[in-house]
Amino acid sequence: MSANEFTSDDDYGPLYAARKKVYPQSVSGTFRRVKWGLMAFCLGVYYFLPFVRWNRGIGAPSQAVLIDLPNSRFYFFFIELWPQEVYYFTGLLIVAAVALFLMNSVGGRIWCGYLCPQTVWTDLFYAVERFVEGDRRERMRKDNAADGLSLRRVYEIVLKNAIWLLIAWWTGGAWVLYFADAPTLVKQLLTFQAPMVAYIWIGILTATTFVLAGYMREQVCTYMCPWPRIQAALTDEWALNVTYRYDRGEKRTSVKKAAELRALGQPVGDCVDCYQCVAVCPTGIDIRNGPQLECIQCGLCIDACDNVMTKIGRPKRLIGYDNDINIQRRQDGKAPVYRIIRPRTIVYSAIIAAVGGIMLYVLATRTLLDVNVLHDRNPLAVKLSDGSIRNAYTVRLLNKSGYDRVVAIDAEGPVNATLHVVGADSVTPDRPMVVIPRDSTSELRVLVTAPAESNPEKSIPVRFHVTDIGLGEAASATDNFVSP
């Protein structure tokens, strides 16, 4: 690829290189504003979502989003999921993965540059660092000061780390709020009466946030995260990536020289080699070297370059979202072509639509009443004193609704069979009925008895019907009626 023309010999060094600390300079512009906005949105959702209330009736949790581990329930606004419904999360993960693929094939590492927690928190931590210690040049000077630590410098370092710790602690604190009633837990945390596991998790997440966003930063993306490697396989020649338009930028010349050459009518590039794109880069790379593993495509170099181009009176977007095809086309004097809709993006969108549609359909049509049957294994069948046969079953009724149900149980299959539910008979001898409290399961011992002479087969299918006698909702399950 032609970007290699600009690779300097310095890139071939020893296999191990110590980290060069990155001092990103502040920048303003379109992409910076988008990043601030997304950061506010993401952090806002993360920190405050646990406090959103949702009325589910008396006795049910009133938290909109709650992962209730002790009771094995997951609440998301109007949705309540039971452990056996984890396949919804499988679907969600498939959608999430394909959505990442789609993002990648449309606009490169949008996730990495704007939405990934590592990026968002690192960005926030950089903002704190800049606020306390000053911008790029000041920070570099202070870090490299030969005269040791002044009192002011110590104060700055302590203040910066203290603010970081506070943010990190709040991050861990918000995490645990998703697992318990948020206002109650906040009260418990403030009075030091929260369960130990809450403190442990806050500690873990405080530590990871502090270390990953404060000190490891771009190294997480470059060395720890698998996504940069995977995304290389997902991108194609049409995907828009943050690109230095070398067709326009080369040859790099100083502002003054460029003006002179232009006056003479000679070809000259727009890049004035000001290194602003390098100065603002949070991973410390030079985008002019072409697509690189380290580049998270946050777009800040676009802002930096645009500012310079505006100042020197040249068109914006010397660096912009583009691809190599268009660079070639421009070099050949053709108009650029953007193909967002192409087989790859259509297939990804179709997968998202299909999986999402299936999930929605399953969610919308799922029953809130269910029944499972398990045949007794020992003994499989019992012969009674009059010679008839009895089979015992464990019938589990699931009431996923928010109200108690009265259900009737019927069995069909064996000829002249009678049904007997242990514990239910004295109330309703003719047709066994039981109450299933809301949002719970009831386990019943159910006995099916049938005369041997009218059921000569070794095994007969038996179908258990469960009917909510108030609402008419029904569910059924099949097992076998076995002869000894």
Binding site: D376, R377, N378, P379, V382, K383, L384, S385, D386, G387, R390, A392, H420, V422, G423, S426, V427, V434, V435, S442, E443, R445, L447
Partner: protein, 291 residues
């Protein structure tokens, strides 16, 4: 390996150990410092462990460690905690009547869960893990009961057993009519066939029904009742139904009549607490045969 001062390898510049094979000298490459430190720390750790925890076997005991820790004591504490947690529920079980337990879904579930565990620990060796029984050990799933199948009767049987030696135990046994010389062998064969006829089973060729009935009335009716319907006061089984504790074939019947039968069910009072016995009665009753 000592450092041979003054002997240095010319290529690497390292000192050698002085060992030499065919002109090749061994370099002195010490263990990495982090490795050594870790190694010494493990030794320190081990010694501390001996001091703090029980470690060394002595002749009749062992060193107990600084704080007298023992994993058995931990188990005891955990078991006590468990009892404390379950205390309320088991108390509720103990306070409720047997009939009320079966009507209350929560108590029924608790009793069945508790009963199932205790049944597995104590009853399964004879009655089988699902209570299906075996020859001589009644199937607890069916509706045929030697000593009665109501909740109270089941509980009584569990509490005091059958022929267990307990003062309140069920008494009564099948006499050994052959061994004791009450009936002659041909009379035993005849009455065995008569008993088979009672529940509609086939009889031996040339069997004398009138003679069988006469023997049965003279010897068996006292316990098994008129027509062999059984008597739960005596633990005498119903001979007219389809369920046979020792088998319904002629050979088994002859053995039963000739040798007698007196299976033993132990008394569980004293071995299990009252609430547990209650739970077990409910569990056995709920297996399916309970009246």
């Amino acid at each position: 390996m000592t450092d041979h001062h003054g002997e240095f390898d010319s290529v690497s510049g390292r000192s050698t150990t002085g060992h030499e094979w065919d002109g090749i000298k061994e370099l002195n490459t010490p263990l990495p410092r982090w490795w050594l430190i870790t190694f010494y720390l493990t030794i320190v750790w081990a010694i501390a462990y001996w001091v703090v925890y029980p470690a060394w076997p002595l002749i009749s005991s062992n060193t107990t460690g600084l704080f007298g820790y023992s994993s058995r004591a931990d188990v005891a504490v955990e078991l006590a905690n468990l009892e404390k947690i379950r205390g309320d529920k088991m108390a509720a079980l103990g306070a409720a009547s047997l009939a009320d337990i079966e009507k209350d879904p929560a108590l029924l579930a608790l009793a069945r869960a508790k009963g199932k565990t205790v049944f597995g620990d104590n009853c399964a060796p004879c009655h089988g893990s699902g209570g299906a029984g075996a020859k001589g050990f009644p199937n607890l799933n069916d509706d045929d009961w030697l000593w009665g199948g109501t909740l109270d009767q089941i509980m009584q049987t569990i509490q005091y057993g059958a022929r267990s030696g307990h003062a309140k135990t069920h008494e009564g046994q099948m006499l050994a009519f052959g061994k004791d010389g009450v009936l002659k062998p041909d009379e035993i064969v005849t009455v065995a066939n008569y008993v088979r006829a009672l529940s509609g089973l086939s009889t031996r060729k040339g069997y004398d029904a009138a003679k069988g009935e006469k023997i049965f009335v003279e010897n068996c009716v006292a316990c098994h009742g008129d027509g062999g319907k059984g008597n739960q006061e005596m633990g005498a089984p119903n001979l007219t139904d389809k369920i046979w504790l020792y088998g319904s074939d002629e050979a088994n019947l002859i053995e039963t009549i000739a040798q007698g039968r007196a299976g033993v069910m132990p008394a569980w009072e004293g071995r299990l607490d009252p609430a547990t016995i209650k739970a077990m009665a409910v569990y056995v009753h709920s297996l399916g045969g309970g009246k």
